[in-house]
């Protein structure tokens, strides 16, 4: 197993325990699907499968250093293809697949743009979609069947250099804003070594995950780390988990799960949307840690989850927190395993007015509860700076900057974007403060909305809404509203319309919701139609997002 103390014994991702261990009958991964028997893949099976994919890829003309996009349903095929690409030195990148709600044209256009911008060599997707997509993009598209038919006996292995880019992790958002975070073998292994030490990862661990593999948390914590470390991975599709969240708890119970990463909304989803009889006989006592990460952490979500499932063996000490980002491969920090995260109660008013986190009592009029994200993992450093880049003292709020030995190499094909400042620090865009090394995140510097773990840019949704008939072009504003029940930010839109007619307004309401669901990957939760001149604009004529949000909150009494 990779640790900081034996870091030098791992050169590349292909040094993974799953690929190199003599004990090749141990499960590498267990894939769970709704209504189907679990598929147990041993290390031997895994090695054979990825070698087949490596051979198939080479037969189809994919070579070393070629970028291969895996726009696949989350399944074993996409997993094998990712590792098959690594074996031949190609650069794989996981991508979301087309969903039943998303407009096919829009999806294919964004793929086409990605192919052109990023110089994609090939796309692998499902058999039924390959032909259709093939007609739309400027590179070959292969279905799994075609790929497997190309398998020959052997493949030409590639000897990677530790500093070469191993794979890309694409950030969410629109294609225009999408950035391919390029990570080297060295960076990923440094992260896995440091993070494993922080987690006290050991041979008895079992990782259970429903997370999508195109997201950094799913890709690193819920996929690569367990396979590199030879820790069994119990994986399911996010689509299955969303509609039957009990699957995750059942999987933990059945497979003695010990580690599970979740964004904050998932605690609320599982506390609120699992039927009583679905948890009959389930035990969560095997868990060492649930790790809350990827969106702002709320103590109330932990409490809700704990209250609901303490009778299944869940304890407060199992609920830990991490602060992470794709640019640092994944984790920046982690709260200690087996300990409840530190809670800091601060004065909301002082925070807003003087950018200071001043402690107050729990029953204070302006009490704001913040949960610590823990201290940095080994070899990662953090500081808080003001707008001029000056380092701030403890409890002063500013932007969080990170440096480490597991940072990205670059944003792929984006020479215009330099992720680092002059001293090599990565500017996260997150705001927060430190107390004795404990990291507290307040929010984002920009208008970004984090809805159910997804990064949502309000400008993208506004441009869709501005195209809806009946909405005054340029007179719609989108913002996030934290919802205590859901444990995440919900998305609200206020749009100016001319008509007072109820039937016409209903139709505009429906068209806005429809346009968003087919043209983006999110759902609008609140649509507020207003008359002309409702929206507040800045002196320069731009829509003032925060001011309109406050006005909406006041008007609707939320």
């Amino acid at each position: 197993m990779l640790k900081l103390s034996n870091r030098d014994s791992f050169q590349t991702l292909l040094s993974a325990v799953t690929l190199t261990s003599d004990d090749d009958q141990k499960p590498a991964l267990i894939y769970i699907e709704s209504g189907v028997d679990d598929v147990v893949v041993t290390r031997a099976d895994f090695k054979q499968a990825i070698q087949n994919y490596a051979s198939g890829l080479q037969q189809m003309g994919v070579s070393e250093r070629d970028l291969v996009i895996l726009a696949h349903t989350q399944n074993l095929e996409s997993i094998y293809a990712f590792w098959g690409a690594l074996l031949i030195g190609a650069i794989p990148s996981m991508f979301p697949t087309l969903t039943e709600k998303l407009d096919r044209d829009i999806y294919m256009n964004s793929m086409s743009e990605l192919v052109n911008i990023s110089d994609v060599r090939a796309i692998l997707t499902t058999d039924d979609f390959a032909q259709e997509l093939s007609a739309r993009v400027n590179c070959p598209v292969y279905g799994s069947q075609t790929l497997l038919e190309s398998v020959s006996d052997a493949y030409q292995p590639y000897i990677a250099n530790a500093d070469e880019v191993a794979f890309l992790q694409h950030s969410s958002g629109t294609t225009g804003l999408q950035k391919g975070v390029a990570l080297s073998h060295r960076a990923v292994l440094n992260q896995v070594a440091s993070y494993s030490d922080a987690l006290q990862l050991n041979g008895s661990d079992v990782v259970v995950s429903w997370l999508p593999l195109y997201h950094d948390m799913g890709l690193i914590a819920g996929f690569l780390m367990p396979l590199i470390q030879g820790v069994p991975l119990v994986l399911m599709s996010p689509f299955d988990w969303v509609k039957s969240p009990a699957m995750l708890l059942r999987a933990i119970s059945d497979h003695q799960g010990t580690l599970c990463w979740l964004p904050n909304f998932a605690y609320n989803h599982m506390a609120r949307r699992i039927r009583k009889r679905d948890v009959d006989g389930i035990s969560l006592a095997s868990m060492r840690a649930f790790i809350n990460c990827s969106e702002p952490v709320h103590a109330s979500s932990h409490q809700l989850f704990h209250d609901k499932y303490s009778h299944l063996g869940l304890s407060g000490e199992q609920l830990t927190v991490s602060y992470a980002m794709a640019e640092n491969t994944f984790a920046v920090s982690q709260t200690p395993i087996g300990t409840t995260p530190i809670i800091d109660i601060i004065n909301r008013l002082e925070l807003e007015q003087s950018l200071k986190a001043v402690p107050v009592s729990e029953d204070h009029e302006y009490a704001l509860v913040k949960v610590s994200c823990g201290k940095t993992i080994p070899n990662t450093h953090i500081k808080v700076v003001d707008a001029d880049g000056k380092t701030l003292a403890d409890r002063q709020v500013g932007e969080l900057l990170v440096t480490s030995d597991c940072m990205l190499t670059e944003y792929h094909k984006r020479d215009d974007l330099n992720p680092f400042d002059a001293d090599g620090w990565y500017k996260t865009g997150d705001r927060g403060y430190l107390v004795d090394g404990e990291i507290f995140v307040i929010g984002r510097s920009k208008d970004l909305i984090i809805n159910a773990g997804k990064n949502v840019y309000p400008q993208d949704l506004e441009s869709v809404i501005n195209g809806v008939d009946g909405v005054h072009p340029g007179r719609a504003v989108v913002f996030g509203v934290y919802d205590e029940k859901e444990g995440t930010e919900l998305i609200a839109v206020v749009a100016e319309v001319d008509t007072e007619d109820e039937v016409e307004r209903k139709s505009i309401f429906q068209n806005i919701k429809q346009a968003i669901v087919t043209q983006t990957t999110v759902t609008i939760h609140f649509v507020h139609l207003v008359g002309e001149k409702w929206l507040i604009k800045t002196s320069s004529g731009k829509i003032a997002r925060a001011a309109n949000r406050d006005k909406w909150l006041n008007e609707t009494g939320r």
């Binding site: 509609k243 859901e486 759902t523 609140f526």
Partner: protein, 84 residues
């Protein structure tokens, strides 16, 4: 419980809790999920509601966009269990 009562209860519940707009009048054949009126988490929530309100258990394979997209589909599925 008769169908009209169930329909009214479910209609109000969906508008209030899932669409988050009590005044919204759902048409019987309107695509509630494909129309973006409620998000994908709502199917699981609807399943919990049906257990608590009508004491019925809708198994996971029935909780799909295809089978539960309109009010008519949802009501038919609930009534099948209530009447059996």
């Amino acid at each position: 419980m008769d169908e009209a009562t169930v329909r009214e209860k479910v209609r109000q519940y969906i508008a209030r809790e899932l669409i988050r707009d009590e005044s919204y009048q759902i048409d019987d054949e309107e695509g509630i999920i494909t129309g973006g009126l409620m998000d994908s988490f709502s199917l699981a929530e609807l399943a919990v509601y049906c257990e608590e309100e009508f004491d019925i258990y809708i198994p996971d394979p029935d909780l799909t966009v295809e089978k539960m997209n309109t009010l008519n589909q949802i009501i038919a599925r609930i009534m099948r269990d209530i009447e059996s």
